[in-house]
Each structure stands twice: as structure tokens, then as C-alpha cells.
Symmetry: C2
Subunit: 411 residues, 2 copies
Amino acid sequence: MKHDLDARLAEHGLDALVVVGPGGHNPALVYLTGGPAHLTNAWLVKRVGQAPVLYHWPMERDEAARTGLSTRSLAPFSLRRFLPAAEGDAFRAQVLQVLALLDDMGLHRGTIGVTGRVELGPWLSLWQAVQQARPDLRVEGRRAHQVLSAARVTKDPDEVARIRRMGALTVEVVGRVAERLQSLRRGPDDLVYDAAGEAVTIGQVKGWIRRWVAELGGELPLAVIFAQGYDAGVPHSVGDDAAALRAGVPIVFDIFPQEAGGGYFYDFTRTWSLGYATDEVQALHAQVLEAYDAALDAVRAGQPAAAPFERACDVLEGYGHPTSRTQPGTQTGFVHSLGHGLGLDIHEEPRLAQGQTRPLEPGMVVTVEPGLYYPERAIGIRVEDTVYLGPDGHPQVLAAYPTDLVLPLRG
Amino acid sequence: MKHDLDARLAEHGLDALVVVGPGGHNPALVYLTGGPAHLTNAWLVKRVGQAPVLYHWPMERDEAARTGLSTRSLAPFSLRRFLPAAEGDAFRAQVLQVLALLDDMGLHRGTIGVTGRVELGPWLSLWQAVQQARPDLRVEGRRAHQVLSAARVTKDPDEVARIRRMGALTVEVVGRVAERLQSLRRGPDDLVYDAAGEAVTIGQVKGWIRRWVAELGGELPLAVIFAQGYDAGVPHSVGDDAAALRAGVPIVFDIFPQEAGGGYFYDFTRTWSLGYATDEVQALHAQVLEAYDAALDAVRAGQPAAAPFERACDVLEGYGHPTSRTQPGTQTGFVHSLGHGLGLDIHEEPRLAQGQTRPLEPGMVVTVEPGLYYPERAIGIRVEDTVYLGPDGHPQVLAAYPTDLVLPLRG
């Protein structure tokens, strides 16, 4: 959690964290500002034992102030100021700019961790040049990420509340989609028609989803998966916008909205079959639900992070399916891991996957998402919830929603 | 342009580009794939004289194939494969993974440029370790960015068409907002009321904007500015969601939608005053329009990139305003530069700013956005269009929209 940050810095031998980049869609900076904030390019320094300081450009002074952090203007550090000393060389001016900023931050020696979601190329060269120019200051990348991951892996109550709110948004949207789909009519050709007699496409459904997520204050920066038949059988296929909806075919609906501006995510999947489901799909769906229950039961503080994966594999292998445990690299059966931590990144620590010995802890937020995939049989099934390990070490699903496979068509 | 890439690589002494990260919201990768594509983590290699090759994880094989590029599966490069040789050390396994990938790409020696929009910390350490492990291969960051910037600074017809489509979306949304606002009623208190007699807030207006942008297939990853009075006077203030709309006060509406998933941007600003405008605001708005016209006239192939800025300053200084040319760091008057290149990044090359000697070229897409800011007088005014330098070297506004200041309230 955030209040552990000083201990984590000390543990990793860092005197300070320096985080760069925009104020949104930048997990490390959003974590430390409590944002997202509309900052084009900011710098944040967090020294051991001291409160963070946010450096901002003057046009963004009010956005910076809104974070409630101590702020400092970047006005005295404009690139133009350093161009003469750099003899007009923009890169050398940037190096001088960073050195001046580090001076202002009081970072003359010791070890600092730098990170931020930015364009790698220029920043790689810049920090290498800063390192050469200041040999008494050790610049570390990986350790910055480790410190932040270690803090972020357990969520404080405010973070859980924000993820829960995104969960409420998610199930509201999913409910609206289900209701709209159920108002449709199944044609004799198994296509699905609206009141005007037009076949409904996946692209239209995604349009509803995008509009409703935006209307409720979220965004979908990483797309949305609404994939039927063969596409459902390939876990990360987003689905074919041009394809018409078909009754009796499994549809994987995987939605991962984020707070507008780049904040906390939610992650959720249901598998639906419109109008009716084949016996085969019903049987596989029931197996996935059984694997889900077994996995959820192993999401307990003290259990190794691999345990929920192992439990899901036990169930699905018992039904004769290949899993990534029995057949690494398989593209049929249970082809992926069980889940992942979730927060300001859609995928973060811990990984609920084979070989993960790290014990689960109260405060973690993870997904539980077993699935079965048989693309050549036009079948893909996945059921996913986002789960919080409460202070008692037990799992709480952060947004409840029915797992029904069949959506009856009433239109 | 993209077809210049081989020449640019040679010019910068690079044998190949290696781009990492997700398939969307990652300008370098989106540029080379023509995406955005739903790829969680991909690798792309572009060697001089050869077509790019996209490496993808197996679950994303269909998304990768959709780009039309040559693809290769990352399945043989799973981290797990390298853990035994790394004696269980995850970082060493990652280094071995990258070395194996570089071998597969045929990159054993020479100079490669690496970039991608990723988390800086871990990638900084990773490439440093790779560099140490492979001294015959020189790893460059900055040059990768320079090559891509040099190619991206002029747009090919397909890119211009995509930016133009986002322009059409933008003015459609702006038109809907104007229409909705004009249906409102001005109260005797100068607040603005809807048909139900409720005062309308900025938060509500932003809700309409978000919904309409999403409905039309765009997203707003960097927020939207709808700022009135004092907030309008601070260029990057996004506005106060809780504030009620007021008649007779300037509102800066700056909207920069992006293609869903992280593709091309558009950038557009109008200043509105609901119901009526004060004489002072009318006069300043007319001056900004005059500066806009003068600046647009200087957006010509062969002109230095500073010229449009200088022309706008000439006009505004003529009316007695401070500018960032006469008073660097001023927070009143014309406080910023004239504009910026726009494409897969909202801010890219060229900068239409003081001292920029680079000549403008056909194919560039830039914003033209003069403004005047007097926050203490509750005034901010900015007018912005996105402009394409056509093959004839003349500017074309990519989405036409009236610049009227006053929106009459008809409700």
C-alpha cells in the first residue's frame, strides 16, 4: 500500500523515486498523485521520509494544485534556458535540464529509481547521458518499478472503492447490453434481428457498449472483446465488427473499462449464447463455472498465487481438457493462466499462474477467469470476475452479476 | 512519410528499429502496424531494406494477422523457457529472452534503435543489460525516435484521411454541443437552465461530449477542456465539473479526440459566450481571429516553423498584449506557442514556436491556435484548427466549423 512506500524504498536501496510523463494513463504517476490529472508532462520526486513534490508546467498549475500535493513550477527549467550552454544542441540542453531539476530536487548523489509510462527511446538515451554526467548518482530503472509494484500489489481502501465503482459501472453496462440483446428476435436462419428487421452486427453491439461506458464516466482504452464462435475460441480476439450476431453460438464478452483519463480498471467476462445453447456448450460452460468456484475458493490469504490456477486445472483436466499445465503452449482447452492483479494497470502483480509461489495477501485485487477454448469447434467460454482479498483474507467479488449462459430472445 | 523509413534509418546510422509494447496507444508501434491492434505486448522489427515483422503472443494471433504484416509467434520465447538457464532469476530470464529474440530477428551486431510507449523503469534496465551482454550490438534510444519523428512529420494520404475523419467526428460533436447549449434558457441570474428548470453544469456538458465522441467511434484519453471564466484563462485547465454554466462569460472548448484504441488525433478549439458577450470579450475574440488569419497565412511550405507564431505575435502585440515573445514566461496575453504537429501523438513535430527554423513542408499536419488569457479578468480565448499542408504547399483546414463567439440561447 501507499503508506509502505518509504519502507519499500529503503528495502530496495533507493533514496528517491523520480517519475516522469503525463498525468494520466501513466500508472506510476497516477499512483503517486491520486489522479489522473491533466498534466502533459510532469515530474514527481518522492524522497525517502519526505512527501512527494509534483513539478508541472505553468499552464497546468491548477491541475497540479488539484492533486493536493506540494507543487513546483517547471517554468525555471524551460529547455530554452539551457540551449545557450548546450550550444544550441537540443539533446545536450535536455541533459542540462534534467541535471538542474535533480539539483532542485536535492538529488546530487545516492541511488534514485526512475520510471513512468513514456516513449522509451529518448528517455533511455537521456538517463544514460545523465548517469554519465553525474557519476555520484546511481540511476536505477528496474528497482523503481519493483518498489512501486511492491506497494501497488495491495490496495488501500480508497483504491478498492475506486475499483468497486468501476465494477458498478461495468455491470450496469453489461446489464444494459443483456437487456438490449434480449429485446431482439431470432430469425429462422438463426441470425438475430432488431425491431426494424435488420440483422444486428457485433460492431453495433460494440457501439452501444462504448456509448454506455462513456456516458457513465469510464473509457475503454484497450478495446472491448465481443467475440462469437471461432473468434471466441481465441482468447484475445476482439471479434469481427462486420459479423452478424448468431443465436446458439457462444459469445465471449470481456470488458475492461478504466476511469476516464487513465485511472483504475475493472475486468469482467461473461459468456452468452443468444436464444439457446447447444448441449455441448452448456456442458462446457458448467465445467468452467465449476473451475471458477474451485479457483475462487483458493483465493485466500496465505495460499500461493498458483493455487487458484492449480484448482481450476484440477477441475478442467478431470473433464479431460488439455490445460497449459499438462500441455504448455496448447491452443485448445484451458490455454491461459487463471488471472492477474489489477489496478492502474490491467495486468499487474500478482500473477495467478503456474509456478507462482508468492503468497496471496489481504488487500490484493485479482481476476479469476478460467476458460475453455476450441476454436475449430467455434467454441470459446470464459467467466471472469474481479476479486478483492478482504482484511479477513477471504475473497469478495467486487461487482456481482449472474453467470447465466443463455440470454432468451424476447423480441 | 512511411516509405522514407529506409532512407531515414540509413541517414541515422541504424541497421534496424525494434519497437516494443502494446498494439494501441503506442505511436511508434501503431505507425508501423497501421493499427491500433489489440496486442497486449508485441515486438516489431524493421530492418533496413526489409519489410517489418510483428512478433505476437499466441492468444493474439488473429489480431496480429489483421495488420497484414508478416507475423511470428512469441510462443517459443515464453519467459518460462529461459528461467532454468537464469537459475530462476526473472530478470536474467528476461535478458535471455530478449537475446533470443534478437537472434531470431538476425540482429547479432550493428546498431539498432529501440523505442515504444512502455514503462521506462524495467525497460531501461533491460536494454542496459542486453547491451552489456551483447557488446557487438549497439543499442540506441534517441536515434530510433529521431528516425520515426523524421518519417512521421509528413503524413501520407492514408494518414491525412484518418486525421480528416477524426476532424469530421470532432465538428459533428462540437455541432451537437452547440445545438444542445442553444436549446437552453438564460435565467435572470445569468445562469443557464434546461427545460426542467435545472442549472446546467460543466460536468453535464462533458458527459454529452464523452457520450457523443464514443458513439461516433472516438475516444478522449487526454480529457476534454470545457473551461469558463477564470479557468478559461489558464490554457490547460480542464474546467470545473461542478460549476454551473454562466451566460456572458467566455468558455474555452478544446477537444482532442483520438481514434478508438489509440490511433490518430484531431485537435480543435472554439471560444463561446452563451447568450451574449461583453464588449471586452468581443474585442479580444476579434483580435485572436485576426492573429489566427495572419498565422494561417504563414503556414506555407518553405516558411520556417516559427513564422506563424511570429505573425500571430505581430498582431497581438500590435493590440498591446504581452506575448511569450516579448515577455518569456508571461501568464497573461498570448502565453503559449502557436501550434504543434499532430498525428499519433497529440504533440509531435514540428513545433510552431519561437526560434524554430525548420522549414514547413507539404504533408505536415499542424495546429494553429492563437489565444489570449487574462485569468484575473475571468477571460480566456483560444481558436484552433488542425491544418494540413497540401502538395501545393498551401494550408487546408481539415474540418471546417464557424468561429462565432456568441451562442444565442433560444430555450
